[in-house]
């Protein structure tokens, strides 16, 4: 691409967007440092047995969740790849995309509705155990929920690399008469091994920063992660010093993982809906066919189970009464408004960064990227290092220490944090279309002198409409289902739908919670489907 000597103001909104992201992060860290600096002893004394137990559990549950997702994920992906003629294949691949569209709190309730003390399987499990089924809480509950999210993700990502195996390799496999094991060892394993570090890192990161699942399904000091401990320290123990220590350890942990992931070339902004080709026919023996069939049936049941439970439990609730409650109306309205604002902000910030990055790339020509360009490229990914709870905790302490209205800030915090959290995904939706259009249009615009507002309106916006809508729907779904920031900042005055679900659960009104979760799940699912549909339609 040619170097263009044009005065270009596209970097200005990008600078502003970076400023917003930086303010959010710097403000949070300022709060933490302030608290730690004011009283070292408090933060230091938080290094106790409890803290080490929490840190150990955080790592342990993430390791187990990753192993339990990745290994079966490989088996399921291979079954899907080798049974390309199986009629239910498309259904399973689609179904495996659904968990990512569901908010964690909805899934947690689904797991409880299935395997909880009063769950659908409680009687069966009591009969098997010979004792009253205690319900799935603690580590096992957390693992089931994490694997529900991440096994399908792993399977889809591995399937993608298996489907990328060259057709000629598959032909050779058939011609040389390789059996199933040789084919795995010689042809499939190299493809899987290449994807393995990235997939494992992504899932490990998702599990180590998982908040809602652990909050809902974990229990007591033996099944608590750092993020949940931060929340408890701020909301229940009023112990900001401990929260600071916990937060710094969480930051350290995620930083190490992100650096490790970057070394491995892993992308942490996982794609919600990977496109999966129809696959290729592979000769499969009768025994293997049977094995694959069992694997796929188990995978299907494991993913479909909690989703069915969400619907069944939700329909059992007194939906008519819930629909009439003022608190429900308020929560729905609040959720929709905040999620809409967060999504709009996310798209605007992402567009600004994407176009600034491109403008800087054009300006420098063949020279290496400068700091500003790198920042606009990677700045949004930074937020992946800093989980929402951490940002929320920092601001919580900052506002409290500076005498600000902590709970009054709730709407702004929810919108800002959720907007920034969705940015890596939004930028991923927008950037390819933007840069592709730019590569085609840049020289024409320079020659025809199409600049500024006219350029935005006539040239840049039309091809970006669809990806921006995809990013918007995605960001809105993400924000709608989020329980991170609102758990910290929620109050009687500002309640979102996930917050209301949490409250009903805490008050043991499980049926209400299930009904509201169904509503929330349906909303997020529809938005994700809209995002998916928008991204697939041809321009």
């Amino acid at each position: 691409m040619a170097t263009l000597r044009v005065s270009d103001h596209r970097t200005v909104p990008g600078g502003v967007a970076l400023g917003v992201v930086a303010t959010l992060i710097v403000g949070s860290i300022a709060g933490l440092v302030w608290e730690a600096g004011a009283d070292w002893s408090g933060a230091a004394s938080a290094f106790d047995a409890y803290l080490f137990r929490v840190a150990r559990f955080t790592l342990w549950q993430a390791v187990l969740s990753t192993v339990l997702s990745v290994l079966p994920g490989i088996v399921v992906a291979r079954a899907l790849a080798r049974q390309a003629d199986f009629r239910g294949r498309a259904v399973i691949v689609w179904l495996f995309g659904v968990p990512l569209a569901l908010p964690a709190i909805v899934v947690a309730l689904g797991v409880l509705a299935l395997l909880g003390r009063a769950g659908i399987f409680a009687d069966v499990l009591t009969a098997i155990a010979g004792d009253t089924w205690p319900g799935i809480y603690g580590l096992s509950g957390i693992l089931v929920a994490h694997v529900f999210f991440n096994l399908p993700l792993a399977a889809r990502l591995f399937l993608e690399s298996l489907d990328a195996i060259p057709a000629d390799h598959r032909r050779l496999e058939a011609q040389l008469g390789m059996n199933s094991w040789s084919a795995f060892r010689l042809i499939e394993w190299p493809a899987i091994r290449a994807a393995l570090p990235g997939v494992a890192m992504l899932i490990f990161m998702l599990c180590i920063t998982s908040f809602t699942i652990v909050l809902m399904l974990g229990g007591g000091p033996h099944a608590t992660t750092l993020e949940v401990a931060i929340y408890q320290a701020l909301r229940f123990d009023f112990d900001p010093a401990r929260a600071v220590t916990l937060t710094f350890i969480q930051l350290l942990l995620t930083l190490v993982i992100v650096i490790g992931a970057a070394r491995l070339g892993a992308s942490l902004a996982g794609e919600a809906f990977v496109s999966v080709s129809s696959g290729r026919r592979v000769a499969v023996s009768g025994a293997e066919r049977l094995f694959n069939g069992v694997v796929l049936a188990l995978g299907f049941l494991f993913v479909a189970g909690p989703m069915t439970a969400i619907v069944v439990a939700g329909l059992r609730a007194d939906l008519a009464r819930l629909a009439g409650e003022a608190s429900v109306h308020n929560a729905v309205a609040t959720s929709l408004i905040l999620a809409f604002a967060a999504a709009a902000l996310s798209v605007v910030l992402s567009l600004s960064l994407v176009s600034a990055r491109r403008a800087l790339e054009l300006r420098r020509g063949a020279a290496g990227p400068g700091l500003f360009e790198r920042a606009s490229d990677q700045g949004a990914a930074l937020v992946l290092v800093i989980p929402p709870i951490v940002i929320g905790a920092g601001w919580f302490i900052l506002l409290r220490n500076s005498g600000g209205a902590v709970f009054g800030a709730a709407p702004f915090m929810v919108v800002a944090v959720n907007a920034v959290m969705a940015m890596p995904f939004a930028m991923r939706a927008i950037r390819p279309a933007h840069d592709f259009a730019s590569a085609r249009h840049e020289r024409l615009c320079a020659q025809l002198d199409i600049r500024g507002w006219a350029r935005l309106r006539l040239i840049d916006w039309p091809p970006l409409k669809r990806p921006a809508a995809t990013a918007f729907a995605f960001a809105m779904a993400l924000s709608l289902g989020d329980l991170g920031v609102i758990a910290l900042f929620g109050s009687q005055d500002v309640q979102t739908l996930p917050y209301l679900v949490l409250q009903r659960m805490s008050a043991y009104r499980t049926q209400d919670a299930a009904g509201l979760a169904l509503l929330l799940g349906a909303l997020c699912f529809s938005l994700m489907m809209a995002a998916d549909w928008l991204s697939r339609r041809d321009a």
Binding site: L4, R5, R443, Q447, I450
Partner: protein, 240 residues
């Protein structure tokens, strides 16, 4: 509007470890074919004149004006690329009209000019079409219509017909020749095809390894005494 002379005085440029150095002059209203192997610098030369690249040294003059460091839009130049001449989401009319107003603010006279240009390149009735609904030849016609409404004294053609079949290509060359006869703009045309050059060009530039290796009248180039390097390039053993 008539053409303007182009002068490249010791224009130097480097990219990706390749050094370019161009020195030549083209008379007003001449048609100059730029030929040479792939990667020799034909497109780079056109990019420098159009302003998409800025030289490290030397001067580019169009008419009497030094345009060396001027942005593309402020040079008296229109350029037609091999592809991507059109905005895919805009119709034919808008694509042409952008040559008159970059914000599409048009008065009645502008609109009439745009319609006339579309008619002139043989696309009457197709002004509402989007570029995916056009053939490769039609897209390049739209680009030429925009050249007409821009009405600049220099036209740069960067292998614009390279992807067209022989018959279409001949038609498009015919159109360019007619437009040149009407408007008299100076044309610099990069091409791989000796026929294009022979049909259209008054003069030739033969570019090799980033510099002008040979220049002269087209009749000499294609005659029995054409430069050796050029004859080797087009693969003629003796003169034709």
């Amino acid at each position: 509007m008539s053409g303007a002379a182009i002068k490249c005085r010791d224009v130097r440029f480097s990219r990706a470890e390749m050094e370019f150095s161009f020195d030549f002059a083209a008379a007003a209203s001449d048609v100059v074919a730029v030929m040479g192997p792939s990667g020799s610098g034909k497109s780079t030369l056109l990019d420098l004149i159009a302003g998409f690249e800025t030289p490290n040294g030397g001067a580019i003059l169009i008419g009497e004006e030094d345009v060396t460091v001027r942005p593309p839009a402020r040079r008296p130049v229109s350029m037609v690329f091999q592809e991507n001449n059109l905005f895919g989401h805009l119709d034919v009319f808008s694509n042409v009209a952008l040559g008159r107003s970059p914000s599409l603010r048009l008065d009645d006279e502008d609109r009439a000019d745009v319609h006339e240009a579309i008619e002139r390149v043989g696309l009457s009735g197709k002004d509402k079409r989007l570029s995916p609904a056009l053939s490769g030849g039609e897209r390049q016609r739209v680009a030429l219509a925009r050249v007409l409404v821009r009405d600049r004294p220099v036209l740069l053609l960067d292998e614009p017909f390279a992807s067209l079949g022989p018959a279409l290509r001949a038609e498009m060359l015919e159109l360019v020749r007619d437009l040149h006869a009407e408007r008299g703009m100076t044309i610099l045309m990069a091409t791989h095809n000796p026929d294009d050059a022979e049909k259209l060009a008054g003069h030739m530039l033969y570019i090799e390894a980033g510099r002008v290796a040979e220049k002269g009248p087209a009749s000499v180039f294609f005659g029995p005494d054409g430069p050796e390097a050029f004859r080797r390039y087009i693969g003629s053993k003796t003169g034709r």
